[in-house]
């Protein structure tokens, strides 16, 4: 019973915080709410008996990436978003590209609902596919990551490197001479 209570508390916190992230006018609050959402997610990982994943979630997302986010938001000192005229209109009545975005959002929600309905039908829990203990022990996790999923892992790291080089190239100012 206590597990169920903590699960719904953490899950509710994650959902509410995530929803509030996009509902904020002040980007600073958005960043902070995202951190809350990540922390709640880490709590869920602990409940799934995966403490290493939970701590990695806190260190990488809440600790490192969000500090970078905060840094950028502060550096740009983004003012509160002005509520423009069309911003207050109903999403579907907005001109041009915004209407397209609203339509896409509706499609995404439908897709998510469909996916969630299918998950309920699944019998086997996810852990059993990788051999139960695979996510709980750091040693096993490392073995799975660098052995079975080695290609995906290396491909991801190359992808990140490419993105980094791309960001440097795009951000670099042209030499005036």
């Amino acid at each position: 019973m206590p597990e169920v209570v903590t699960f719904y508390l953490l899950a509710g916190l994650a959902v509410v915080a995530s929803a509030l992230v996009i509902g904020q006018r002040n980007p600073m609050y958005s960043v902070l709410l995202l951190i809350v959402s990540f922390a709640a997610l880490a709590g869920l990982y602990i409940q799934l008996d995966a403490p290493f994943v939970a701590v990695a979630q806190i260190i990488i997302y809440a600790g490192a990436i969000m500090v970078l986010f905060l840094f950028v938001v502060m550096l740009l000192n983004a003012p509160q978003e002005d509520a423009a005229e069309w911003d207050r209109a109903h999403p579907l009545r907005r001109p041009g590209i915004a209407r397209f975005g609203a339509a896409l959002a509706v499609v995404l929600i439908l897709q998510l609902a469909y996916a969630l309905m299918r998950v309920n039908g699944l019998e086997a829990p996810v852990g059993s596919q990788t051999g139960g203990a695979a996510v709980s022990s750091v040693r096993e996790l490392g073995r799975v990551l660098f052995d079975r999923h080695a290609f995906a892992f290396e491909a991801t790291s190359i992808l990140i490197l490419v993105a980094m080089v791309g960001a440097v190239v795009l951000a670099r100012r042209e030499d005036p001479s």
Binding site: M28, L70, F71
Partner: protein, 343 residues
């Protein structure tokens, strides 16, 4: 409730109490040692040899008026110091500070000295300390003042830069110990080489230890790396607009972070509570631990009052161009040697 659970709870309470007192004692130690280094007495009037000075300081801070600038963000301005000090206390939760003890035979089964024993303990400490920077960054932003904002920005940049070197030097020790639990890491350092050299990781990881200490100074925002509050440039940096209790929480968090940093360094590199066999016999291993932590803390204070502050760009250059590559090299060499000797 049986006795053992009660004792364990008492130990948790004691840990909290020790941390609160550590911050007060460190303030006094800092001022006394600073006085000594500058050839004067330091605080001397309140209590014998100024021992009650921290109490007077706290009373003074409590009595002051709490101010909040008009343009400040109401919620975040209050939240920031709370966040700072909470993260500082919470980070100590998985740090063990003594061998398992039966309290001189009082209990049948031994209890552990420390709050919690998690099998990813060292990562938990790292995760929570890295959350502590939000307090400083938010304080800087919420104050709505340019000096505070600069201080907060610097804290964020400094934290990102030095966390890398810090984590990489930790990883080398984790490789050697083959465990992420701080208690297990300490226990792998219990024996000795040739019967007299203690098997501490500081001897295997001298470079790693130096990197850890330097990165630790930067992480706790202490001089010579105290750029978030560099007073010549930024008045008082991130805490410029703070007063009274809200202000007091920032230095308290800083001193507790120092204590945590030193306790973790003791556990990782200096063999934790092992080293004085005479004390081990009588179940006083924690005295050894406190002595080692005290020595590191003295080193921190010593550093603060003898070294001049760096320049900000030098700090970033040093972190990225020297400290981080050095820690990666240290990790690679350690990994290669472990493979070589274990194969």
């Amino acid at each position: 409730m049986d006795l053992r659970v009660g004792v364990q709870l008492a130990i948790i309470g004691l840990t909290f109490f020790m941390l609160i007192n550590a911050s007060a004692l460190l303030v006094l130690a800092e001022r006394k040692i600073m006085g000594f280094m500058q050839q004067r007495y330091g605080p001397y009037l309140v209590g014998p040899h100024g021992l009650l000075q921290p109490l007077a300081d706290i009373l003074k801070l409590l009595m002051k008026e709490e101010l909040r600038p008009k343009g400040a963000d109401k919620w975040l301005f209050t939240l920031a110091p709370i966040l700072s000090v909470t993260a500082a206390f919470a980070a100590f939760a998985t740090v063990p500070w003594g061998a398992e003890t039966t309290l001189f035979g009082l209990l049948d089964e031994p209890v552990r000295l420390g709050v919690a024993d998690v099998n990813v303990g060292i990562l938990v400490v790292f995760a929570i300390t890295s959350m502590g920077v939000y307090g400083i960054v938010l304080a800087g932003w919420a104050s709505n003042s340019k000096y505070s904002l600069m201080g907060g920005l610097r804290a964020a940049a400094q934290m990102i830069s030095y966390e890398l070197a810090y984590a990489t030097s930790l990883a080398a020790v984790i490789l050697l110990a083959g465990s992420l639990s701080l208690r297990e890491i300490v226990d792998t350092q219990a024996s000795t080489w040739f019967g007299f050299i203690p098997r501490w990781y500081v001897f295997l990881q001298p470079l790693g230890f130096i990197i850890y200490v330097i990165a630790g100074v930067a992480e706790t925002n202490r001089a010579p790396f105290d750029f978030p509050e560099a007073e010549q440039e930024l008045v008082a940096g991130y805490n410029t607009e703070y007063s009274s209790v809200r202000f007091a929480l920032f230095p308290q968090a800083e001193y507790i972070n120092m204590a945590t940093m030193s306790a973790v360094a003791t556990d990782l590199y200096l063999g934790g509570w092992h080293g004085i066999p005479f004390l081990d016999q009588y179940g006083l291993s924690w005295v050894t631990f406190l002595l080692k932590v005290g020595a590191i803390l003295f080193g921190y204070i010593w550093m603060r009052w003898t070294l001049p502050r760096y320049r900000y760009d030098q700090l970033m250059g040093f972190g990225w161009k020297f400290l981080f590559p050095a820690s990666v090299l240290n990790l690679l060499v350690t990994a290669a040697l472990i493979l070589y000797f274990n194969a």
